[in-house]
């Protein structure tokens, strides 16, 4: 796909891209871990603290009104961004992890019981695995896993075979943070609902990179993080479908989430405030709102196009290096800009350190997916992940650096 946007002007919006690690140009390919922030987001946080800061919903004075409006405007913007339909459905959390834990500790604790089943995939991030292990342990429920086919995509037949009236929840990532696969979450949701199960989608790696419409997917819960989509750290989102909202009990209890409080009992506020106890991360919400503006100004389909081009380009180049093994699909069908790989006879941490000397920032390790590493039979992998501000020239430099790795170990 031809690049239709001006990457130079996008790069100019990100002050950190001018960083010079060890005197080299920074090549930031660790976007699946966290993304960099444009001036607009940094400025929004500064503007919040220089002109709007006060506690939200509580006070009658001018600034409290300004801060409350900014916070609610952020909620409205996120609602439109993922087509949530209603503000009640948008709950601000710290991150994807907290969003998923919220569902586990509230809805799941009351609705999943002895003998019930939950379906996950082996590629889930620990944050969409450990909360369900906890539920399985406490409620006597059972975890079942969907594994991969020979191309590194979900084995959909085994998923369909697993669905039954015992299954109460399907929890699946929309995009894998290791393999880059895009899972057919709409189809999976439809089939889960037919079996009577609820569906939670982990959108941490999808929302930043593609157009996501939660009502089109039809899921019951959808979680994502602000910091992986150019927003600040410490702000995340949980979408709860309106139809199930009244079946979800309150989570943390305290300020802001109440209606009436007596010495021995309390009634709670309506959603979304019912789920947002305590002073929220207003600066984070305002920063996230600015990030949504920035992404929409470029266009999510355009962003997806640029990343697909970069990913295809990188895959083609990596495929020509015979000592590099790639994990995940080699073609571009249903695939995003995350590439996991290993260099023969060199440990991923050593690869990452050597690339770092050339200014290339990649991730090495288990990527919070230890069961997937075990399933792939590797201790760890290297991972390069792209965003809209990356370029083909950066991929060329990364490939050159990678070609030098084995020389360090005198392996040819």
């Amino acid at each position: 796909m031809e690049r239709t946007i001006d990457v130079k002007s996008i790069r100019d919006d990100f002050p950190i891209l001018k960083a010079r690690p060890y005197g080299r140009d920074l090549i930031y390919f660790d976007n699946a871990a966290t993304t960099q922030k444009p001036y607009g987001v940094i400025k929004a946080i500064e503007d919040y603290y220089t002109g709007m800061n006060a506690n939200v919903y509580r006070s009658a004075h001018y600034l409290s009104g300004v801060a409350t409006n900014a916070y609610e405007e952020a909620r409205n913007k996120v609602k439109k961004f993922i087509n949530a339909g209603s503000e009640e459905s948008i709950i601000f959390t710290r991150n994807t992890t907290e969003s998923i834990n919220l569902v586990a500790y509230t809805w799941a604790m009351e609705n999943i019981g002895e003998g019930d089943e939950m379906i996950l995939t082996v590629a889930e991030h620990h944050s969409n695995m450990l909360p369900w292990q906890m539920i399985a342990g406490r409620r006597g429920a059972k975890l079942r896993y969907v594994y991969l086919d020979k191309d590194g995509r979900l084995d959909m037949q085994s998923y369909r075979d697993m669905l039954s009236s015992r299954v109460k929840l399907v929890a699946v990532q929309q995009v894998s943070n290791v393999l880059g696969i895009i899972n057919p979450v709409r189809e999976m949701t439809e089939e889960a609902h037919k079996a009577g199960a609820k569906v939670l989608i982990d959108g941490a790696q999808s929302v930043p990179h593609m157009k996501v419409d939660v009502r089109d997917i039809g899921c019951d819960f959808f979680a994502f993080s602000g910091h992986k989509m150019m927003g600040p750290m410490g702000i995340g989102v949980l979408y709860i479908n309106k139809d199930i909202l009244d079946q979800v009990p309150a989570f943390m209890r305290g300020g802001e989430m109440i209606d009436e409080v007596y010495e021995d009992r309390a009634t709670f506020a309506d959603p979304p405030l019912k789920f947002e106890a305590g002073t929220p991360n207003v600066e984070g919400a305002v920063g996230l709102s600015a990030a949504v503006d920035y992404l929409e100004n470029i266009g999510m389909n355009e962003i997806h196009g640029v990343e697909a081009d970069l990913t295809q380009y990188a895959l083609e180049k990596l495929k020509t290096i015979d000592f590099v093994k790639i994990y995940g699909p080699l073609d571009m069908k249903d695939r995003m800009g995350v590439i996991s790989f290993n260099v023969a006879d060199v440990h991923p941490h050593d690869v990452a350190t050597i690339l770092d000397q050339d200014g290339v920032a990649i991730r090495s390790g288990h990527h919070c997916a230890q069961p997937l590493m075990r399933y792939l039979n590797v201790p760890a992998t290297c991972r390069a992940s792209f965003y809209v501000y990356n370029t083909r020239e950066e991929i060329d430099a990364f490939i050159e650096s990678l070609k030098g790795v084995r020389k360090w170990f005198k392996r040819n």
Binding site: V346, H347, P348, H349, D350, T353, D356, S364, G365, H366, Q370, M373, P379, A380, F409
Partner: protein, 126 residues
């Protein structure tokens, strides 16, 4: 290695490196040492050098060496000669993200030594 009386596992949960250290002791002397495990070049090299260094050393001497090696990686003044081949890893101190890789076996040994010393102290009390 046959006849090990101490087995200590070390694990770096952030990157997945794992090692197991085996020690054969006689009183407070480490007679022999070996390891199994998987990890990056730095942790594997560090473990191998550590094993060579501690054979024949007393438990207290081993603890002193662990402290010196740790200090070296945090760029403190130490007598590098005590550390034998392991002083070659001084350069890791320039890579803060990798210091934990080099320290993994040393921290694991430290736990093993402390457990052994506690065990010996209890025996002495009897």
């Amino acid at each position: 290695m046959d006849g090990a009386d101490i087995e200590e596992k070390g694990h770096n949960p952030l990157c997945g490196d794992t090692i197991t250290i085996y020690l054969k002791t006689d009183g407070d002397v480490i007679k022999d040492a070996s390891f199994t495990g998987q990890g990056c070049a730095i942790s594997q090299a560090s473990t191998s050098m550590l094993m060579d260094l501690i054979r024949g050393k007393k438990l207290d001497e081993a603890k002193k060496l662990i402290q010196e090696f740790t200090d070296m990686l945090y760029k403190k003044d130490v007598d590098l000669d005590d550390l034998g081949d392991a002083q070659a890893l001084a350069g890791v101190s320039d890579f803060p993200a990798r210091v934990k890789c080099a320290l993994l076996p040393w921290k694991t040994l430290e736990e093993a030594v402390e457990e052994k010393q506690e065990e010996r102290n209890k025996e002495d009390e009897k």
